[in-house]
Symmetry: C2
Subunit: 197 residues, 2 copies
DNA sequence: TTAGGTTCTTGTCATTTGGCAAGTGTTCCT
DNA sequence: AGGAACACTTGCCAAATGACAAGAACCTAA
């Protein structure tokens, strides 16, 4: 399927009360760049200022390091998602995150200037951008809540349920660190889940 | 200190690259409502559509209930903060959250119409609104990260360090459920921290 | 003052999770 | 084929946390 159509569908879905016209979509495509990302490529490196990758298709993983130097997975992304470190991108600050593709991906790469230009000239795109940002906020709050009131086992079950395909691209130790448990623990959790069935 | 001045200072701090003029500030104050909230009052009730309370001064707590019916504290707020359920406010959906003042508070109450009106006519306010939203996103992601790579003890230490005053207004069991541990556990953690010193 | 309610602490024991080390299986490179 | 590297599993024991119940400290209202 053509990327342009996916984008159109996403914009319609995210801000249905302010639909874009075909001419506006054409204008957007003149400004932003279609950039494929192959598995293993990075869209963000620690220490750099984040870009805004509008991931339409594929899977990515974000990670950083704790004080002991252990890798910690902070995010999994399944298109369509906004892939960025918001604090870095909007604040023009070096990021503490790394974000890497764990499958071949398709999407658009936006700079802050491109985004601001489109925000300025097109209220519909502004609304879309806000809806995307709100969704990222909701996702982060949901994941935080899962840590507060679910056990590791339940968090794992929820993750697999909601993102079955994504989980098939992710390594177990990355899933474990994302859930906040060791890979040993997650391995045991999986064994018990398998036994129950 | 007058609330208007606090708002002016906040706007300057949040979006320094697009400062508001005095006339614009005056216009903003014509549109939004200054609303004090006394301790124990709610700014959001489960099942209602969220408003946007721009908390400038004071402390609030957000909570919901898990499947077993236990109260779970999802957020503490210390002014200046945007106090809202973003999914509910922007999506016009009933909220699952309750938000209650745990001290007397001062701030402005905004409806979505008021916010959209100001966004539409004032790019500076738009920028401010975006900066606020980004900050909420960063806060949520930081708290999620704390759950992934810190122990309960470290999460508690970090919370007390960063929000000393807020913690003096919060009950221990609410802090405990916010941290994702039982009040029993938190009580023990506090005892051991006291012993260490 | 007393009685009742709420909050926090503590003790005991069960469950979950972590740390470490060994073992199995797979992939990849030469 | 051989070997190294990596991913995942498992066993053993220690540490952290939960569940439950009792007690201490405090506040409030009759």
């Amino acid at each position: 399927m053509e990327l342009k159509l996916i984008l159109a569908g996403l914009m319609k879905k995210m801000s249905p009360q302010m639909p874009v016209t075909d001419e506006q979509l054409q204008r957007i495509l003149e400004v932003i760049d279609e950039v494929p990302v192959t598995k293993g490529e990075f869209v963000l490196r620690q220490g750099k200022v984040s870009n805004y990758y509008l991931l339409l298709n594929g899977y990515m993983r974000g990670y950083t390091f704790d004080e002991q130097g252990n890798e910690v997975t902070t995010n999994f992304f399944a298109g369509p998602r906004a892939v960025l470190d918001a604090a870095s991108f909007f604040g023009r600050l070096p990021s503490a995150e790394n974000i890497v593709a764990i499958s071949d991906c398709r999407g658009y790469l936006l700079t802050l200037e491109q985004l601001n230009k489109l925000f300025h000239e097109m209220p519909e795109f502004r609304e879309f951008g806000r809806a995307i940002l709100v969704r990222e906020l909701v996702i982060a709050q949901e994941q935080k809540l899962a840590h507060i009131n679910l056990s590791a086992e339940d968090r794992y079950k929820q993750l697999v349920e909601r993102d079955t395909e994504l989980m098939q691209h992710a390594q177990l130790r990355h899933i474990a660190s994302f859930l906040g448990v060791t890979d040993t623990s997650l391995s045991r959790i999986r064994r018990e889940l398998a036994n129950k069935k």
